[in-house]
Each structure stands twice: as C-alpha cells, then as structure tokens.
Amino acid sequence: MTFTWKIGGEAGFGIMTTGLLFSKIASRLGYQILDYVEYPSLVRGGHNAYEVCVSDKEVTALKKEIDILVCLNEETFHKHKNRLTSQSLVLYDEEEFDFDDNFKKVNLPLKKIITDLKGQVVMKNTIALGASLAILGGKIGVLLDLIADQFNKKGEEIVKFNQQFAIAGYEEIKKNYSALIKSFLVEKEEKKERLVLSGNEAFSLGAVAADCRLYAAYPMTPSSSVLHTLASWQEKTGMIVRHAEDEIAVINTALGASFAGVRSAVGTSGGGFALMVESLSFAGVAEIPVVVFLAQRPGPATGMPTWTEQGDLLFAIFSGHGEFPKIVLAPGDQKEMIKLTLKAFNLADIYQTPVIVVSDMYLSEGHKTVEKEWFDNLVANYLIKRGKIIKSSNFKSQNDNEKLKTINFLRYKITEDGISEKIIPGTPGYFYQENSYEHLEDGHTTEEAKPRKAQVEKRLRKWQTYLKNDFQLPKFYGDEKAKTVFISWGSTKGIVLEAQKKLKEKGVLTGFYHFNHLYPLDKKRVSQLFKKDKRYFLVENNALGQFGKILAMEIGLDVEEKILRYDGRPITVDGIIERI
C-alpha cells in the first residue's frame, strides 16, 4: 500500500507546518514517508503545497497520482487536479468553491467550524489534519499528542483550544463520510522508531556528530534551514553558529577557525558559493580543511530560489582559481547525507583541503523517514579521523629549547602522500604560517621555481592518496546482466530506483550506477565499469548533463542518451520510464 496525501493553500497560512505534521503522524503510526514542498519565493500570497507519499515500505520517489487532496483554497484544486483519479478523495469546503469533476468529494465545512469554535483562519490546517486522519483510518490520538508537543509551552488551555479543531475535523468525517473511510493509516502493531528528516536536517545531524564546532552561513534558500537548525542547537551542542555579513565573511570565518584547529563548515546555495570560491582556492593552497554544504537551486544568478536543480556540479568541481585538490561528494538521500557528511569532515581533515557536499532543494527540503536505530548505530561507531592534524597535548615536542626560543614548524613539509603535519596554533615552542601565496616548507612566501613545483605536486598528490584510500566507486543497483543501465548522482537516486522497480514489473530489467564520490574520479576503476554492449542513460536534473561531461572528460565515456529536467521540478519516475 502506497498513497499520496497532498495539501495546498495560500502561502503564509501554515501549509508547511501542516505537511510536516502529516509526515510525522504517518511515521509515528509505523509508516515510511517521502515528502516534497512547493512554494514561491514569497512570505505571503502565492500558492503553497506539500505532498507526502506514505507506504509500508521505504519510499524513494513521489507518486504520480494524488489519492487525497486537501484544498484549503480553490487554486489548490485547479493546480493539482490533473493528478487526481476517479478514486481520489478531495477534501474541500463547499462554502469556498465547488466542482463537478468525477472525484470523490468530501465536503469539509472549514469556515463554519472556525466560526463556531471562534478560531483563526490558520486553524483550518488542524481541522484538515483531523479530517485526513479520520478518512485514512487513523486514530486521533497521535495528532492530539503532536499538537500537545507543539503548544505545551503555552499552557494546557492553548493545547486544548487547538486540539478541538483536530477533533472537529475528525468527527465531521466519522459522522458524514464513514463510507469513504480507508484503512491506509491504521496504526501498525510492529513499528520501528523513525526520524522524519529533511536533507538539511540530515546534514545538520551529521555535522554535530562529526564534531563540527563552527558553522558559518548567510541565509540562502534552500540551505538556510541548516543555519536555523544548528543555531537552535548551539546551547546544547556547544557549536558556534555565525550568521556573518556575507558569504565571503562566512567562509573566511570558517577558515580562520579551522586554521586555529576546530572542525568548521559553511552552507550556502549557488550564488553564495560563487562569492566563496576565491576563498576556497585560499583553503586549497593554504591547506585549510573546510566542509562546504552546497544546496543547489536553479540558477543562473537569482534563478528560481525555491525550486530544484542539479545545475552547479561543474561549478563545484571546478570552483576556485588555480590548481588545487578538492573533493566533491553528493548524497542520494537522507541516510547517505548523514554518512557522507560524517565522511566529509574526516576527509577535509585528512587531506587538509576543501570538501564540498552537494545537495539540492529536492533533497535539502524534502523529508524522509530514517530508522532511529540505524542513526544511533552509525554515530556510535563513527571515528573522528583528523589525519596529520595534531592536538597540542598529543604533540611530542622536538624543541628541547622551547622556553628559550621558538622554532619555525615545517607546516608544508614535502611528503610522499602529499599531506603535511599540522600542529594546532598555540602549541608551545613553535610557530608557523599558513599562506595564500606560494610558499616554502616553512610557510614563507616564495617565487622560486623549484619549491613552487614541489608544493604544487605535493598538494596534487593528496588526490592520489585520496583515490587510493577513500574514493568509492558508484553503487550498483538492479540487474548485472541488464542491457539498459542508468547513470546518475545525488538526489535522483530514489527516483531512478523507483523507475527500475516499475520497469521490472513490466519485465524490463535495468542496472543503475549511482555516484556519491563525484570528484576526483579514479579513471581506471571507473572506466572498467562501462561496457560497449550496454545502453546507458544519463539521468540528471539539469540541462547540460553535467556529470556526463565529467565522465567524458575523465574516462572518455560519451553517454548520448540523456534524461534531463531543468524546469525547476524534480525528475519523475514516469519521465524516466517513458524514455526506455
């Protein structure tokens, strides 16, 4: 059983909160969810919609048909009716509008209930949730609990006041529409405790678990909720969260903190990242670890702030002037987001260079259920690896003379693996500098040919070391023998997986290479994966097929068949299937 519930209404009237509550209700009742929000870049006015796909099993993609559409205004109905079927239920208020189409009508007197109970317009949401729960066969208790969680701070009276709207909606269905009641949300007897996580929340949890101690950001959709989440936790976690004056200050605050020895990260979207890239190059030459969370949205320039795209991959891979190593990772879902975030902080420290974690609006702002036990195990087994960054207390001083004279530490010592030891500034007996100019082993500026060449090669050797020790090949899903093979990266993962499932039901077997470790690529091992007798399809949420260009450049693979989407909306399962 898999169904889609969708709610829509005017922006500024609580649609987002309501949608998330529905996701949590489904999760608490033992189901798994994937959700997706649509909203304009406005605070008020315009149309907001929130859809939740619910199932007994893991949900990796949205579903075409909407099974329950909750219309808080007439626009919602017209905008989304093309996804309704004759079996779909439409919850709406006859006082607001009416329709003649052949869907199952559920008239919910929202206005009347609000007037009778002396409520505010925003409480229509609560009525709608109560009604939704009733028609899906769930018990009201879980919603009442969530309302209590939300309003507990304001006192019992406020809790009760809000709960009565949920009850009114619930009762309305029980009384008048008992024939339409489904058993989609009957509480599961056996259920795992699950977290309802957005991609941004997954990054935030990963950052905390990785012992990131400073996060700097300037608000930019769709990355901003990382800033909000980490800021709201700072008293508990002890992380410092700085909302700086601009993205240039953001990354340079992080680089300063990282220089001084603490794990640091920044988060932004394409435009903010554009402001950061000079400093990314600084991190490259000065060998300063930093994790950059890049949540893409459609560009160029201001683009479409609240929609989705994978249009900044080439920009991320080639970001920063000059030649220096950087590592680009892209998680495909919430679990991979946590795992790769944990890894990103280790890689940044081990290779003393920038690591970019690439997300997009679809992954960053959509929620998915993740088993709590899985998370608990993952973080319990996570080891912080700082590579050659040495804490002062662990540093065995070679300086016998430390009280008399400080020594210039060789911060950029030439090594076989390209990585040099770093002691934390403040370590007694030494000093050194990290330098944005080309430098000698001791950090001092140089323009001499020989040390320049040696330092360039040392830095680039870190890539070789990474490919040997930490690079991972794409994961393969599906049938090894299939002639049709998809190639994708990042957030398109779940959509391709669902398309594979649907195709298999039709008797079409497919394979799928999903890349997490996007750059650098191990040319030899990656090129061995691709065979002449297969038909490859590149699936990307952009217009150029950007990862395809990387494959062409790095391993000479020219994937001619491309499934691309660049209208600001995510790739769909049907969009893939119809091309096969």
Partner: protein, 283 residues
Amino acid sequence: MASIQDFTGYQPTWCPGCGDWGIGMAIKKALVDLNYSPDQVAVVFGIGCSGNMNDFLNAYGLHSLHGRALPNAIGIKLANHNLPVLAVVGDGDCYGEGGNHLIHASRGNHDITVIVHDNRVYGLTTGQSAPTAPKGYRSKSTPLGLIEVPVNPLALALTAGATFVAQGFAGDLNHLVLILKEAITHKGFSLVNILQPCVTFNKVNTYQYYLKRVYKLDKDYQRDNFKLALEKALEVNEEKFPLGVIYQVKRPCYHESLPQLSSFPLVEKKRFLKYDELIKEFI
C-alpha cells in the same frame, strides 16, 4: 621572556624609508613588552605591502586573501579565545576590498586588533589611489583626479560600534608602541589606523607632511566621549591628525556573549554525544 629578535623573521623587502619598517618594529616591541612569545600570538595578514609582514614577523600566522583578514581573525578568536589575534592590513585591504568586514567586526565587538597601514595609496600594485586618498588625488588609476571623497576610517569604525579606535603615526615609533599595547590589551574590537608615508608612490603625504599636521591627544583627553571622538575623527577634513586613543569604552565582546565559550575555548571543547536530545524533534 621573548625578545624582539625572537619575533623577527626574514629580512623585510619594504622600500628603504617605508613606514612599514616603523610599524613592523612597533608591533614586535608591543608584543615583547606585553610578555608574549611567538607561539602565543596569532596574526592574520592581508595582501599588500603591509601583509608582506607575514615573512618578517614570527607568530602563528595566516597570510590571507586581499580584504579577508578580518573574518579570518574572527574565526581564530572564536576557535581559541585565549590567543591574542592581530590583523595586519592595509588601507585598500581593509577600507576598500574588505570594507564590509570592518563594519561588521566593529558591530560584533570581536576581540581582535586591526592594525591598518594607511598610506593613502596602493603600494604593491604600483601606486593607484587608495580609499583614504583625498578627492582630486592623481594616480595611475585616477589620472584626471580622484572623483570620490575619502573614506574616514576612524568615523566609520566609531559609528559601526568599535569599542577602541586609535590613530598612530609610523614616524613616531615609541608612541605607536604605546597605542598598540593598549589596543592588544583592550577587550573587544580595536582599530589602529596608522598614518604611514609611502616613499615610492605617494609624494604628497610624506613624513614632512604628517610631522607638520599630527598632534598627540592630551593626557586628560576623555576617551569614552563618543561625540568628542567623532569630532577628532573628522579633523582629517582640516588636515589635522590626532594621535592616540580617540575612543575606548567597555562592552562585552562577541565571544564573551556566547554561552558555548563560558568555560573553555572551542578548540578544547569535548565532543557532543547526547544525540537523543536533538532528534526528539524529528519523531
């Protein structure tokens, strides 16, 4: 105890007679006088002749990008507030390319000491006009004369909320050392604007020019008087240059206002492990 020699790195490449020599020496002398050694100080350098001090001053140094030394310094201070953090920058660096950072570092009262080499000209790039150059100034980039009026760094920092604003002169080393010691010791954001002749590219604002126009603030000057400080800051419009601490008040610094840092520096923090407290909100 460390000596000037301990802080002395490579032989400077500054032009003979450049004001940077005096500033470089004053910084070292101030650090020695304050009983620091090179392993106890963090210094961020901008890009310019001033920033080239990176190779001449021994410390835990970060030679940053043009304009970005201030956010780097803020990051260092947040990570380890036990380290005194200095930013050695130029006028183009701090008042041009990085002007935005000066405003916000002042507002935040971040506990860093910003030492600006103000020679009214871009030296390293061979003599274009700086943001502090006077209107009408002719340079390679403004052959018809500068159209803009100059930035007033002292007034800018004052109105942006800096808690310590001072002006020194590269030609008066002893006095400059006194100012720098106060600036480094000051708890909060400190700006020291240093008037500095560029002997190669600025033929107007020479040692002689400044010697005729600088004067030291009286011993009984009220440094906590904001209006008076603004008056002093505006004297540059009459080509008068007060030297000394123009303004100083107490206000909690940024890092002191963070509960996260109440017991130990961030770099010594223990790893947070109580994830259950965070994930409640996701259930």
